[in-house]
């Protein structure tokens, strides 16, 4: 399995595959299907200082090759996560990435300080890109100055490396990535969902109670891939990629685009075994591509010096 091991700031991963935040809860449900120690990591559900009830229902709607969701950061709150969920996860041989969220900067700082001290939390994922809450979330992720400041503040208090989760709902994601790098981020995770909408044919009204929701699933993979391709060449930060990944070949695409690891979101709902299956399938794909190690494929898509766009030597 050495061919899949990846070292990133704070994270010594036996393989670069992990479920994405919000799509796997705190692991309990999926532990009924397979041994979670097989995973590289788990990005746990966003945690806020206090319990959050989330948005009214309906919270999801299907779209072509994808789904919209507006869960609204429902979570049991910092105290319960630290006292119950994280200790439960200690039974698995896993570095945990804790996704943290809040309505204001102080919320992020409070959660970062406490949760980064937990035994099995190896890194934080700063959620400045949730499109489904009125305050906080994406408000921090669409202005470079705000994102830089928040990253710096969280870095000050965190005992573990900080990855910033970027929103695709911006004009220039590269600018956002650079701002986070300046703020001291140790890595990036990208992308969060794209804001979208679906209307009821008969009434003409939005299907989701929140009116808009975040689009995920295979439909957004091309967008995510393009963004990883651009950002990976403009910053030195390692990237954990997500956005429509549902197969081992999708993972290879994102590594080729410049990512160092990959997270699987919506696909878990379709196939609860998807992460396990991807991990099992990757070695044979490396054989097929003649690669010794998965990261040998990193950045294959990048343009080399002297190579004109659209032409390959």
């Amino acid at each position: 399995m050495d061919r899949l091991s990846v070292s990133l700031p704070g994270l010594s991963l036996k393989n670069p595959i992990m479920p994405a935040s919000g799509c796997f809860g705190f692991g309990r449900e999926y532990s009924q299907f397979y041994d979670l120690s097989e995973l590289g990591s788990i990005m746990i559900k966003a945690t806020t200082p206090h319990p959050r009830a989330g948005n009214p229902v309906p919270r999801v709607a299907e779209t072509s090759s994808g789904m919209l969701n507006a869960i609204g950061l429902q979570n049991p709150g910092l105290e319960k996560v630290i006292e119950t969920e994280l200790p439960w996860l200690e039974q698995f041989d896993l570095p945990i990435i804790a996704n943290i969220a809040g309505s204001e900067a102080e919320d992020y700082i409070k959660v970062a300080e406490k949760i980064s001290a937990a035994k099995n939390v190896a890194a934080l994922e700063l959620n400045i890109s949730c499109p489904n809450v009125k305050e906080g979330g994406i408000a921090f992720g669409t202005d470079p100055e705000t994102a830089r400041n928040l990253t710096a503040k969280v870095k000050e208090v965190s005992q573990v490396p900080v990855y910033v989760k970027l929103s695709p709902n911006v004009t220039s994601i590269t600018e956002m990535a650079k701002a986070c790098e300046e703020g001291g981020a140790d890595g990036l995770t990208m992308i969060n969902t794209l804001v979208g909408m679906r209307l009821d044919h008969k009434t003409g009204k939005p299907v989701i109670a929140n009116k808009t929701g975040g689009l995920s699933g295979p439909a957004i993979k091309p967008v995510a891939l393009r963004m990883v391709y651009e950002v990976s060449q403009q910053t030195t930060l390692p990237i954990i990629a997500m956005g429509g990944i549902s197969s081992a070949w999708d993972v290879i695409d994102f590594i080729s685009a410049g990512a160092s690891a990959a997270a699987v979101g919506t696909a878990n709902f379709v196939n609860p075994f998807v992460c396990q299956e991807i991990i099992q399938e990757l070695p044979s794909i490396l054989d097929e591509l003649g690669a010794d190690h998965i990261l040998d494929l990193r950045g294959r898509s990048w343009m080399r010096h002297g190579e004109a766009a659209g032409h390959r030597a």
Partner: protein
């Protein structure tokens, strides 16, 4: 709970847009209560992307067979109705259903179903009758052309049909039938159907114990994604998950929005 390519033994049309699929596999041995459901993947591609939650209408654990009854109205259920599958990708059994204890013996139970909420009541009724309860069914449908299982339910106990347009049985809603027939004095009720029906039934039968089965748009079906929550009266737990805490809840537990 497992994921299994279950064998499709049959897929027959019961009424307008209503189909009954018979499946066999190991999954059946894991079913605990009537009212549980399965999550079916209808396409091997991306449209629709998600699985379809469908309640189990009957099961036979000696033969490892079960039936699901569904309405082919959306993309996924139409795929189920039209495709000549030999096997189908099923995740389940999911959720917690209706508890049927020994103490139902000799009691008169009222089973109330609306539209595509009728199917899980069939297995429930069979088990109640087996344990010595007497059952009365009040089943509501839009119109005569979507009525199904009237004969099957009649074999288990009195069965009254209501249709919104009066084309079969009584004209009106299940609550009209319950009132006209003096059925409010049952020992307990079990209901499954659209939310307005559940709310009306709970109000009408507030004086007896009851259980309701909820419906909600679902994501994962296993309790992780928090899409299918419903509001509950307990202030300490503002939401419960339909897929794992339910779909069956006690009367009085839910807030109907």
């Amino acid at each position: 709970m497992i994921r299994e390519q279950m064998k499709v033994l049959g897929n027959k049309k019961l009424a307008h847009q209503i189909y009954e699929m018979t499946l066999s596999g190991e999954l059946v041995s894991l079913i605990r209560t009537p009212g549980q459901f399965v999550h079916i993947r209808t396409s091997s591609g991306n449209d629709p992307l998600l699985r379809r939650p469908i309640s189990i209408s009957s099961y036979n654990q000696e033969e490892n067979t079960m039936t699901v009854i569904y309405r082919a109205s959306g993309l996924g259920t139409k795929q189920m109705a039209e495709s000549p599958y030999d096997t189908i990708d099923v995740l389940g059994p999911l959720g917690s259903g209706y508890q049927v204890n020994e103490d139902v013996k000799g009691k008169s139970m009222l089973l109330i179903g609306g539209g595509i909420g009728v199917p899980p009541l069939y297995e429930l009724s069979k088990q109640l009758v087996e344990k010595g309860a007497s059952v009365t069914h009040v089943l509501g449908f839009e119109s005569a052309r979507v009525v199904f299982y009237e004969k099957e339910f009649s074999e288990l106990g009195q069965t009254l049909i209501a249709t919104a347009d009066g084309s079969h049985g009584c004209k009106g809603f299940v609550t009209n039938v319950i009132e006209q027939q003096g059925l409010i004095h049952a020992d307990a009720f079990y209901a499954c159907g659209p939310v307005p029906m559940l709310a009306a039934v709970e109000e009408q039968l507030a004086h007896i114990p009851g259980f309701v089965s909820m419906e909600q748009r679902m994501g994962c079906g296993v309790g992780a994604c928090l899409a299918c929550v419903c509001e509950v009266k307990d202030p300490d737990v503002p939401y419960k998950k339909v897929c794992t805490d339910g779909p069956v809840f006690r009367k009085g537990e839910l807030i109907y929005g």
